[in-house]
Symmetry: C2
Subunit: 411 residues, 2 copies
C-alpha cells in the first residue's frame, strides 16, 4: 500500500491574536537547544503571582523538571514558568536536577522574585544534559521579549514533533465580571492515559483558592487528557499547570460556588478541545477516531476495552488503511481482559451497524463503513449488551509516517 | 526515513525431506479459499489414531474450529486434523460451527473413521463464512494426496502472511528405541503471550499417556509460544496440538519417567525454535530482539515489564530505526505498572552497557550500541537491581512493512 497523506489540517487559530489574559505575559525564542534552530525556550510570567495547580506524569521515571515543579506547586504561588523543548532533561540524574534548579535561579534573579516561585517544564529527547550554557546566554534575551501578546510565541516554542501549535482562548462573565482563559499545549508522541508527552498550560485571571484549582484541573484532565491515546506509552515529562492570578477580582471561585461551576464550563471544554487537537496531531496521524464502549459490565471494564482498542496496532492500522476490519475489533475485545460475550456484540462505524450479535452484516454495510473510514474523524461504537458501563477514548491511526518519525527520531 | 529491507532470511529447512514420522501422512493443496490460489487446505492423518493434547486461544472470542477441537481433544483419540488458511471461520455464529462440523464429517467419511476423531483448525480473516462448497469439492483430492512425505505440503498450506514455511524435524533414542518428532507452525501477525494467530502441530510416534502429552505441551508452550510478541494482540484461532501415535513402541513416557524427560528435551527446543521462527517472520519484521529483564522484584513484575517493552510502538520503532534510544526504554519501564527505581537501572544492548544507574554512558557506548542494532538479532538486557525476578520475551521491530501489510490486509 502506498503511503497515505494525512487528511487532517491544522485547525484555525483563535481570532484573538495576540492572546491576551490580564496579568500574563510570555515569550518564546530560540535558546540554543534544537538543532533545527527553531524556537525552543518559553517563559510565562504572571503579575501578580498566580495560584497554581499541577498534574504530572505518573511514570515512575520522572524528569528533573517534573520533580522540581511537583514539589513547588505544593507550596507557593507561581510567578513564572520556564519551558524548553528539544531536550526532556530526563534520566540525567543529580546533574540534571542541578541544571534545572540553576536555570530557575537565573530566571528568578532576572525577574527579581524568589526562585521557588519559578516552575519549570521540559520536553524532547531523554537522557542528554541540557545545554545549560547556551540557555543561560539566551535567558536575558528571553526576559526582554516577555510581553502580554507573547503567548502564541510560547505556544510555538514548546512544540517538538507537533505539526501545528495548539492555543485556545476564551472569555466569559463569571459573577458579573469578565474572566479570561487561555490554554496552550504540545503533544504528538508518547501520548496515553494518565498524561502523555504532553505539556499544557492554562492561564486565567480568575480569582480562586488553590484547592478549587486543583479540583478543576483533576476533574478536567480525567475527561480530556486522560482519555486520549496515540501510542500507549507515557512520558517522563508530562506537566499540566493551571495558573490563576486573581486579576478578574471576581468573588473567589471556591469549591462548589457558582463561580467555580461557571469557570469549569469554560475550562473543561477547552481541555477537551486541546486534548482532541493533540490526537489529531498524533505522530503521523491521518485520522482521529473516537472509540466508544457501552453496555459493559462496569465503567472500569469499558475503559480497559476502549484503551485496548485505542492501542492495538492491528486496529490502528485498519483505520489507516480505511479497512472496516471488524474482526480485529472482535479479537482485540476478546483479549483485553474483561469477559465479553461475542454473540452479544454490536459494532458501529459512525451510524453504520457492521456487526449485530457478533455477526457481520454483509457487503452493503461494509461498503457504507468504507465511506465512514475515508473521513478524517469518525466514531467506532461498540455495544457489549452486558451492563451499563461506558467509556470513550480518542485515538489516532498507526501510519507509515508514525514509523518514519519514530524510527529516525534522534536519541 | 526510507523503508528498510529485512535483514532476516528464511532459515535453512531441515535436510530431511520429506519429513517422515512413522504412522503420519499429510497433504496440502489449494482448496478454493485463497484469492491468490495458493495452497490453503491441509490434512494430517495418523495411523493408528494418536493420543492428543491441545492448547487453544484464551481470547474470549473463539473461532468455530477452536470450540470444536477444544471439546474433541478432551475425549478421544485423533485420527486426523483438517486445517485451512485464508479464512478464520471466526465470528461466524452457529452457521460457522455447522460449516466446520460438516467438513469434519466429510473428512471422517472419506477416512472411514468417527467424525469426533477429526480435529479442525483455521487461520485467516475473521467474519466471513468458509466457502464450504469449494472445500467439499476439494476434499476428495486432498484425501487422495495424503502421503507419508506430505508434511511439508501441509506446512505450506497453513501459511497466511508468513514469508516462509516453518517445519522442524528431530529424532532421538528414547528408552532404546528411535523416536521421531516433527513440528510445523504458522505465525506472522496477532502474535502475543498466551498464544497468537498461530497454529502449530507436533507429530510424533512416541508412546505416551494423554496426561503426559498435556503436561509436555503446556510446559513447552510456557517457555516458547507464550514468550513471544509481535504486536500485542491475541487471535481468535490459536491452536497447538501434540499428536503421539505410539508407533515407536517405547516404554510409555508417563509423567516423571526417563522417557518423558527424554522426549521433553526433544520437544522443548523444537517449540522454542518454532516460536523464534514466528518472531523472525513477524509481519514486516526486520529484526528479532530478545528482551531480558532481570533483578525485578518478582518473576511476575519481570514478565509485565518485558511484555510492555515488547509491545511498545516507540521501543519497537527504535529497533527498526537502529536507534539506541534508551530513553524510550526507561519511559516504557516507568509506565508499565511495577515500581522501578530509575537510578538503579542498567541497560545493555548485547554486551554494550549503555545505561548505568539510570544514566547514559556517553557517545562511545552509543556508537557501539548502534553497531549492535544493525544486526538482525540482538539482546536487550535490563537489570533493575531490586530483586531476583527475571523474564524473557522475544519480539520483532515495528516497520513500514508492518503498516503496509496491516493497512491493506483484506477484511
Amino acid at each position: 500500500m502506498a503511503k497515505k497523506k494525512s487528511l487532517i489540517k491544522a485547525p484555525p487559530e483563535p481570532r484573538q491574536d495576540p492572546l491576551l489574559v490580564p496579568g500574563f505575559s510570555a515569550a518564546g525564542i530560540y535558546g540554543g537547544i534544537k538543532k533545527s534552530r527553531r524556537r525552543d525556550l518559553a517563559l510565562i510570567v504572571s503579575d501578580p503571582p498566580a495560584r497554581v495547580a499541577g498534574l504530572f506524569t505518573e511514570n515512575h521515571v520522572k524528569a528533573a523538571p517534573v520533580l522540581i515543579s511537583r514539589a513547588r506547586v505544593q507550596s507557593g504561588p507561581c510567578k513564572a514558568v520556564l519551558v524548553n523543548s528539544g531536550n526532556a532533561n530526563a534520566c540525567t540524574g543529580d546533574p540534571g536536577l542541578k541544571d534545572a534548579i540553576g536555570l530557575c535561579q537565573r530566571t528568578a534573579e532576572g525577574l527579581g522574585v524568589d526562585e521557588h516561585d519559578v516552575l519549570v517544564a521540559s520536553t524532547g529527547g531523554i537522557g542528554k544534559r541540557l545545554p545549560v550554557q547556551r540557555i543561560r546566554t539566551a535567558l536575558p534575551r528571553l526576559l526582554r521579549k516577555v510581553r502580554p501578546g507573547g503567548i502564541l510565541d510560547a505556544a510555538e516554542a514548546i512544540r517538538t514533533t507537533d505539526r501545528f501549535r495548539k492555543a485556545l482562548w476564551s472569555r466569559s462573565e463569571i459573577g458579573g465580571v469578565p474572566v479570561t482563559l487561555c490554554g496552550i499545549a504540545k503533544g504528538a508522541g508518547m501520548i496515553r492515559p494518565h498524561m502523555a508527552t504532553m505539556l499544557a498550560f492554562f492561564l486565567t485571571d480568575l480569582k480562586a483558592p488553590t484547592t478549587a484549582l486543583r479540583r478543576l484541573l483533576k476533574e478536567g484532565a480525567e475527561r480530556s487528557f486522560n482519555r486520549i491515546s496515540v501510542d500507549g506509552d507515557m512520558s517522563t515529562n508530562d506537566t499540566v499547570l493551571l495558573l490563576a492570578n486573581g486579576r478578574a477580582k471576581n468573588r473567589s471561585a471556591s469549591l462548589g460556588s457558582a463561580e467555580y461551576e461557571a469557570f469549569a464550563s469554560l475550562l473543561f471544554p477547552m481541555m477537551s478541545e486541546l486534548a482532541a487537537m493533540i490526537v489529531r496531531d498524533g505522530e503521523g496521524a491521518t485520522k482521529a477516531v473516537d472509540i466508544r464502549i457501552r453496555g459493559a459490565r462496569s465503567e472500569g471494564d469499558a475503559k480497559v476495552l476502549a484503551y485496548h482498542l485505542a492501542n492495538s496496532p492491528l486496529v490502528k492500522t485498519s483505520f489507516y488503511g480505511g479497512d472496516p476490519n471488524w474482526g480485529r475489533l472482535m479479537a482485540a475485545l476478546g483479549c483485553a481482559g474483561p469477559s465479553v460475550h461475542p454473540q452479544k456484540i454490536d459494532i458501529f462505524y459512525d451510524k453504520v451497524c457492521l456487526v449485530r450479535n457478533g455477526v457481520g452484516q454483509g457487503e452493503k454495510k461494509t461498503d457504507q463503513a468504507v465511506k465512514v473510514l475515508r473521513k478524517s474523524a469518525f466514531t467506532v461504537t461498540i455495544d457489549l449488551h452486558v451492563g451499563t458501563g461506558s467509556a470513550r477514548v480518542l485515538t489516532s491511526d498507526l501510519t507509515h509516517d508514525y514509523v518514519t518519525l519514530n524510527a529516525s527520531y534522534p536519541s
